[in-house]
Subunit: 383 residues, 2 copies
């Protein structure tokens, strides 16, 4: 699948998104959707005994497009292209990599912007409340459709890590191993608060119109602001300082206005505006709620109980400067797994880059994933 | 001044806000305002040699009403009533306490909601950009009007601490001592970013109307959201966890909506709505900008240079769980002062309560202030 273009070296090359539609999904809320479509991409080849499949679970703003390019002219690879490809940690010469857009999303999977067959109009807020369990159950249909009975590894950062944990708990027989990065068994009160101010930014926008904005101008300003708030939490204070410091964009007090004076403001605005082009505001509401509601402790009585039935081996990774999903939350997961006698590799990676470290070209993270997968692939190949 | 009501025990009692108008203020931006009014309150009595005056400098959302009650029926004392009163750290039996609303504010001092004499309409965004230096210069007029030549101490937390530092630098002969709490010589990039998303929440509100909303419905939703964002930063992750955890307000997924599901969301909304009743959105824009622009390093070449001319003694206090004004920023101030041979008492107070610790009933903070002031009052009384 490699392309010849130099810019696409070490890449899975040109890819396209596929769509799988299945008959019905029963949501945890008690509601049902029918039919349901998942957008997905695959990289590498499934081996004969179907033992080399890795499911990549994306975070809040991700999509099925985890690696590669859509065309020769495309200069923006998939969101985890640094980690997925020939010779990369998720080595497409060895493994079959699969990534699907979450249910409730806006990048090809059924979500609030999809047409409600009952009304012929987009769902908007008539879409069922989504949970991580619902996201995992939708992925289960896709995995079965592809004929995979056991997944070599399920990997994800942030909300992707929540899905990986849930998979191992809900479908223990199907999950050989889990790579859970910068995630949590339940978001902190501070995390919920930060998600809520993001949602409020969207819902305050008059163009949101209770979620009925499809076909007219959407709540762009609100969604952009939600993204700006999010971005602050994805970086560490130190990284923001190193990246922007207090450098000015416009310094003169005599002409100063309430436009952005500092570089850091300008950066956030750019991130916000860019996001509006590719994301649906209602999906932002639904997916942040799925994150908020995720709570393994509450759902299983305790974190210890949650992991009792788990059969997978675990690689758990936290980042020292991640204040959205602090290391203590990952350590809690590791302790509960070990108390259950599970096999866990844990690393608290020293970094100033904050939560988003998992999306960056970071050698210690690459090495950890690479070694863990190698070991797990050898293990599954022996059985 | 003590009242007889039990609820007002240890209080300065019933107080009223006074107003001082002076002819003209030249802003750092080069613009001028004329006339200028400051709202202020005083508690206790100025002694004969006028050596017991303490200036309290308020933070972003504060006002001149730092202590006492407006009436017998009033149940909400001034914002620092826990610290100001008979027998309290700012002991009104000994000291003459003065607090004024900042220029640009909305609680009686001239600000963007005041009438512009040139147009007969509220200033709105025609108000000059405000800096901490402008705030201090306005206070200088009030101090001189009261006949005070040397201030026993200038005390403030957060933006109040910035004013205290600036006073000691700009008017060294007038400042005997400084109490700088949970503040910074220059806000971090992360702090600027958080202020900017708050401002953006206001400016995104269509009722903001480029600042021209006086006389009609203002940007209440935007201001409320800005306050919600602020409140997240005033608490620590741990304190939020202890205060709210993941307790639900509404738990049932079947009936769940995008209204607040968790207690922490409900708390933030309450804080936001309450704020709108007492604060002006344009003042929020101006005062957060004053905080952003404050930069002693840039203004004086280095923090060391900033403190060369300073004559005051310092009490500097940081809180271990304050992530908005982290201890490292206070330590930087302490180091620069000590490198200049200044007399500094510094305490990094262990607390889980975050930035807002300075507003809470916190014994270690009370003791530090009390002891420092006692020492400083003895020192000034000897000279």
């Amino acid at each position: 699948m490699d392309t010849t273009g130099t810019s696409k070296k070490n890449s899975v090359g040109i890819v396209d998104t596929r769509y799988f539609t299945f008959e019905r999904l029963d949501f945890r809320s008690g509601k049902t959707l029918s039919p349901v479509t998942l957008a997905y991409e695959t990289y590498g080849s499934l081996n004969n005994n179907k033992s080399n499949a890795i499911l990549i679970a994306h975070a809040l703003s991700g999509s099925a497009h985890a690696a590669g390019y859509y065309s020769e002219q495309d200069t923006h690879p998939g969101w985890w292209d640094l980690y997925i490809g020939p010779g990369k940690p998720f080595d497409t010469d060895k493994y079959f990599i699969l990534c699907s857009n979450v249910i409730g999303g806006c990048s090809g999977s059924t979500g609030p912007s999809s047409i409600n067959p009952e009304t012929g109009r987009p769902f908007g807020l008539d879409f069922p409340m989504v949970t991580i369990m619902d996201i995992v159950n939708a992925q289960w249909h896709l995995i079965r459709h592809l004929g995979i009975e056991k997944i070599l590894s399920i990997a994800g950062g942030s909300m992707g890590g929540m899905q990986a944990l849930k998979w191992a708990i809900a479908y223990p027989e199907m999950v050989n191993s889990v790579i859970a990065i910068a995630t949590s068994a339940s978001l902190s009160a501070q995390g919920i608060a930060l998600n809520e101010v993001g949602r409020q930014a969207i819902m305050n926008d008059p163009n949101w119109n209770d979620g009925n904005y499809y076909g007219s101008k959407g709540p762009d300003a609100g969604l952009s602001l939600a993204r700006m708030i999010g971005h602050i939490t994805y970086l560490s204070e130190k990284h923001m300082h190193e990246k922007f410091g207090r450098r000015f964009k416009e310094e003169d007090l005599a002409t100063a206005s309430f436009k952005q004076a500092f570089m850091v403001e300008s950066y956030l605005h750019y991130q916000g505006v860019k996001f509006v082009d590719r994301f649906d505001a209602n999906s932002y509401l639904y997916i942040t709620k799925a994150i908020d509601y995720f709570d393994l402790k509450k759902d299983y009585g305790s974190l210890h109980n949650a992991f009792v039935q788990v059969l997978a081996n675990f690689l758990v990774i936290s980042f020292t400067s991640d204040w959205l999903y602090p290391s203590a939350q990952l350590k809690e997961i590791v302790q509960a797994l070990r108390a259950n006698g599970k096999n866990v590799m844990y690393t608290d990676i020293e970094t100033d880059m904050g939560h988003d470290t998992f999306l960056l070209d970071y050698e210690p993270l690459k090495r950890n994933i690479s070694n863990f997968l190698k070991r797990e692939f050898e293990r599954i190949s022996r059985t």
